[in-house]
Amino acid sequence: MSNHNNGAVVRVEGLSKRYGDIEALRGITFQILPGEVFGLLGPNGAGKTTTIEILEGLRQPDSGSVTVCGMAPAQEPAALKERIGAQLQATVLPDKIRVEEALELFASFYQHSASIEMLLERFGLAEKRRSFFEKLSGGQKQRLALALALVNDPELVLLDEPTVGLDAQLRRDIYALIEQFRAEGRTTLLTTHYIEEAERLCDRVAILDRGRVITLGTPRDLVESSGHGTRLEVRLAKPVLPSRLMQLDAVMDCREAEGRYFLHAQPPAPAVAALVRFLEAEGNALLDLHIAQPTLEDVFVEMTGRRIGD
């Protein structure tokens, strides 16, 4: 397995794509460096799947340039497919194909393929090797899709929403597999609308919204550069005007919803101390306090005014 050590594995410049009247991509630009896990984070309809499908060669852009592993997907599709592995948002196989057969069949298409036994063991499918595709659970189908993405031992792995529809435990299992990709030195592009997934797995994240990259960087840098601060969620014995809480030390903003107060503070410790002193002076009581670090969702909200799930 070879990596491009002296350049980006993926270069996207000014990529645009339109479906009729809908502009799915509006001139996005980013690079993916060798060995990193790069995330495309955004709500549904942001352009994540369109982007990854252009990189896979499944769609053609209307404008812009794309280079994957040094090749243009449209011009060298067969050569590119030998070097990349991809997992679609929904992988559909014939109902009566067995797990082992699917891996063997797809492995046979490549000049170089990984060991089927190794893939079955690694993705927890060894006991299901003779099972028909139709009999697999959702999690097993997703693991098979990931195994198929690695069947040619690729240097670049493209994963489109790999954990959508899975429960929390299965999602963590998939995270562990993806973390192994990084340990092996593979370059990975991951699209997701789950904040936790992007924050946990990605070395760098590009946040997409309505076809544009609104910000790009490491999750930590993005959060720190956000003006949101730490979120304090409090419940009080007696109601208070949010404007009064806004005047406390280190509190940047405050809103009230259904009897709970949401404050953003930077740094959080002085704000908590000021809150306690204020409540004592008012004869009020703190019933509940929850402190949460800012997330990429806060970054998205700050930049777009909407939540990713909206």
Binding site: V92, I97, E101
Partner: protein, 313 residues
């Protein structure tokens, strides 16, 4: 090429695991065999051979239209072709694999028909199996081309079913596959000369009843092979991996050109060769079986009367 073979073998395995597919691939043709040879031929060896040709043609047509014609559309609508698209294989591999699977599944079906016809109806083996194989191959090739072209131009399963039904029933009743051509009005016979199924069924009947060789059927074979080639080229060029990809009306109209060989054949048949060969085969079939030492008399042109008389014998 290896990818096509592997996909074809996988497709065959999948058919073997699906009860409905097994029924329509192997058992359904046997129903036609028992109806045709049991009810229509009624023990007349020449009639057995005559109608056997129709059964084989039905089998080949069915696998082309309802097997291949629907399979690719179904895979595309289901989304299972998408996963193949991520692999370094092209449309040509997919089209070729469909053709191979169809052919490899068809051969044991035809063999089963021959065995059952000989075993249950004592159909005489008066024809060369090699000749039968060549004709089966040419017919499968031609109708695979038709079926795959339809699956390429149809945007949905419903659309494919409409195309298949219109073409299928037209060929069924107008090409001699159900009603022997000489029993149809002259103008329908002239029209049948333009239909691909006509050449397949009359070729089978010619080798079985009249014991003609492949050399005598050169024009028919050529038409089938050229048409099949056109059909497969169109299927390759118009191949779509995803249901969202729509095909233009212009491309649909262009794909119809695969029938050009049969337009040429039909014109030539009507203008020069005539329909006598079909009548001759039919008259040979409709004679009563010869007793030992008896020689065949020339046909007197009373085809329908002769046919009815032979059924009463």
């Amino acid at each position: 090429m290896m990818a096509s073979i592997r996909i074809a073998l996988m497709s065959i395995r999948l058919v073997m695991r699906t009860k409905a597919a097994l029924f329509f691939t192997f058992l359904f043709p046997l129903l036609f065999l028992f109806v045709y040879l049991g009810f229509f031929a009624r023990g007349n060896p020449d009639a057995d051979l005559y109608y056997f040709g129709a059964v084989v043609t039905l089998t080949i047509m069915g696998s082309g239209f309802w097997g291949l014609g629907m399979q690719s559309v179904m895979q595309r609508e289901r989304g299972s072709l998408r996963r193949y698209r991520l692999a370094p294989i092209g449309p040509g591999s997919m089209v070729l694999s469909s053709l191979l699977a169809n052919y490899l599944l068809g051969l044991p079906t035809i063999a089963l028909l021959v065995v059952c016809a000989m075993g249950f109806f004592h159909m005489p083996l008066r024809f060369s199996l090699l000749t039968l194989l060549v004709l089966v191959t040419a017919g499968t090739f031609a109708f695979a081309g038709f079926g795959l072209t339809i699956s390429s131009i149809a945007n949905t399963m419903q659309e494919a079913q409409v195309y298949n039904n219109v073409i299928w029933f037209g060929l069924l009743f107008l090409s001699g596959v159900t009603v022997p051509l000489p029993m149809l009005p002259q103008w329908i016979q002239r029209f049948a000369a333009f239909l691909p199924a006509t050449y397949l069924v009359t070729s089978f009947q010619a080798i079985m009843v009249k014991r003609e060789s492949l050399f005598d059927l050169g024009a028919e074979l050529l038409a089938l092979l050229v048409s099949g080639t056109f059909g497969l080229l169109f299927a390759w060029k118009l191949f779509r991996w995803e249901k969202e990809e729509r095909i233009s009306r212009r491309a649909k109209l262009l794909s119809v050109t695969f029938i050009i060989p049969f337009l040429v054949m039909g014109t030539w048949m009507n203008a020069h060769r005539g329909l006598g060969a079909w009548e001759e085969t039919f008259s040979l079939m409709s004679r009563p079986p010869l007793a030992a030492g008896q020689h065949a008399a020339p046909a007197d042109g009373n085809l329908l009367e002769d046919f009815e008389n032979s059924q009463e014998t």
